[in-house]
């Protein structure tokens, strides 16, 4: 069987094994989690093999080495995202924890009745449910930004909903359902003009776009390691130092204290103040491996190839009879995350049938129920690409989609 050569697949153990098989798995669910390159896995293994000690604890060499690895990784993250000097990186277990930290340590203490939180209707539950909790507890109000026909946010919509009451704007840089790239830089500027604080969830953006936090200038920025070719269990929170300094800790315990009296304690400075307990050092080492991997590649080349794949996917999906794209139907202002429906067939059934052909895509509401109600669909199928995917996999997907309706006794060809 002839295979399209993709230079990156050999870097990933899962694909190296799959590509030996007669029919390799077409993994097209990268918005859920990415596969891990050898570099990530080896970095994690090496940490446990040769550097495992509790960082910040021991005065002996091994603990010092673990501490150094933690701090070097922090510096590497800062470099990777061009973090300004007046900002800090905090390790969490994922974007969800980063956003919960902000809801508890910033939202509950800085928002009050009469204040408004502005957020798109398309937000992932992780950037929506914590703010519902904040609204319930403080009496502040959630105000939703609606999407336009291209499944994007117009600046008019933002200007119309921003007011002096808006104290916080929180949004994804890229939607995990529609793949739309939101005009985050402009929204941050508009929000700052009104004196509002801005949180950007970069989880879907960081694997596919160059992110420069200094230039973007959000007040907080979060993402997950496991969607950036790193291990599960590590996430990132960026915050401006002046804000982080005025916030209360989120989790209390060891490693976040300065001095503990019988009935009170003073806290360590940022970032330790927000890193209670032993950090997930194996995952942090793995994340360092992932960032090393990405930095060694020409990232612009990766992005260009992903854009080419994304355009090819849109082009080919449009040719499949009875497939309807949901949201943005063009390649503009989007990444290769593409939601669609097959007429008369529930997305879950579509996924089961594709699975038979060893094609992995996602079905459901993708942790964004309000968006699906807004789009008036119960659930969608979603393809999400990465640089290790190939046009051949997209061809297989489209071929398999053509057969889906036949299982339910419907014609598969277009009837006019």
């Amino acid at each position: 069987m002839s295979r399209v050569v993709n230079p990156y697949r050999k870097d990933f153990p899962l694909f190296q094994a799959e590509d030996q098989k007669e029919l390799a798995l077409a993994y097209l669910d990268n918005a859920a989690t990415t596969q891990k390159p050898y570099v990530t896995l080896l970095a994690e293994q090496l940490y446990y093999e040769s550097k495992n000690a509790n960082p910040h604890r021991g005065a002996y060499d091994l603990s010092v080495e673990a501490t150094m690895l933690l701090e070097e990784t922090r510096d590497m993250v800062k470099h990777f995202f061009t973090v300004p000097k007046e900002g800090e990186i905090i390790f969490t277990k994922g974007a969800t924890e980063s956003l919960n930290l902000l809801a508890y340590s910033y939202g509950l203490t800085h928002l009050k009745q009469g204040d408004e939180i502005l957020l798109p209707i398309s937000e992932h539950h992780s950037n929506l449910v914590p703010w519902q909790m904040v609204a319930k507890q403080t009496g502040c109000k959630l105000v939703y930004l609606n999407l336009n026909e291209e499944a994007n946010i117009s600046l008019e919509e933002v200007k119309g909903k921003l007011s002096n009451k808006t104290k916080l704007v929180t949004l994804a840089q890229v939607s995990n359902v529609t793949g739309s790239i939101y005009p985050v830089a402009e929204i941050i500027r508009l929000a700052h003009e009104k004196g509002a604080i801005v949180i950007v969830d970069g989880t879907q953006a960081v694997p596919h776009l160059q992110v420069d936090i200094t230039e973007l200038n959000p007040d907080f920025y979060v993402c997950s390691g496991h969607k950036l070719y790193g291990p599960m269990g590590v996430g990132i929170l960026y915050g401006k130092m002046d804000l982080l300094n005025q916030m209360s800790p989120f989790l209390y315990g060891g490693d976040m204290i300065e001095y503990v009296e019988d009935f009170s304690a003073t806290y360590a400075p940022v970032p330790q103040k927000f890193e209670a307990g032993t950090q997930n050092m194996g995952s942090i080492a793995g994340l360092r491996g992932a960032l090393t991997y990405l930095e060694e590649k020409n990232r612009n080349q990766l992005f260009q190839y992903e854009e080419e794949l994304s355009n090819y996917l849109l082009e080919q999906l449009k040719k499949v009879p009875h497939v309807q794209l949901v949201g943005n139907k063009t390649g503009n202002n989007r990444i290769g995350v593409v939601p669609f429906l097959v007429e008369d067939v529930h997305p879950h059934d579509v996924v089961t049938i594709l699975n038979q052909d060893r094609i992995a895509i996602r079905a459901g509401h993708h942790c964004a129920q309000p968006l699906h109600r807004h789009l008036d669909v119960l659930a969608t199928c979603r393809v999400s690409l990465s640089f290790y995917n190939t046009k051949e996999e997209i061809d297989r997907l489209c071929e398999s989609l053509k057969g889906v309706r036949r299982w339910f006794g419907y014609g598969s060809e277009r009837t006019i």
Binding site: H346, P347, H348, D349, T352, A363, G364, A379, W407, F408
Partner: protein, 143 residues
């Protein structure tokens, strides 16, 4: 389990059947069942009089497996007593969990036997049991 077994004629037939898809005039119990991972969302309506299920309706939208399972269930429980419905529900769930495998013991599930091997496709088990769990909750509300 291959696709032909999953999307068997009997399952496809029940998934497209509209007999129990009309709202009831006088429901005595209503219960919503959701499968949050995939977006199945069903609304079960029962009209129970003297511990007997007189009428059944299943509204909402789900995948072929959940709709077929709901259709089979509606057909089975209509006219049965609450206790009989509970027994059927327990039996269906036990069949899915492979606790009961003897064909003789499963006879009372009639068309429901078509779901016997769904546990070989773990991703779809929740779809097959959604309506039955919704029924159990509805009957508990009634009690």
């Amino acid at each position: 389990m291959d696709l032909k077994e999953l999307y068997s004629d009997i399952i496809l037939e029940y998934s497209q059947d509209k007999t129990y898809r009309k709202p009831l005039m006088r429901p005595t119990v209503r219960n919503r069942g959701v499968n949050p991972s995939c977006g199945d969302n069903i609304e079960l309506e029962l009209q129970i009089e003297d511990h007997r299920i007189k009428e059944v309706a299943i509204l909402g939208k789900g995948c072929a497996i959940s709709e077929a399972s709901a259709g089979v269930m509606a057909e089975l429980i209509q006219g049965k007593t609450v206790e009989e419905a509970r027994t059927l529900s327990d039996l269906f769930v036990s069949m899915i969990q492979k606790k009961v495998t003897e064909e003789q013991q499963l006879k009372s599930l009639e068309a429901g036997i078509a779901f016997q091997n769904i546990s070989n496709m773990p991703a779809r088990v929740k779809c097959a049991v959604l309506s039955w769990h919704t029924l159990e909750e509805a009957l508990n509300q009634e009690a």
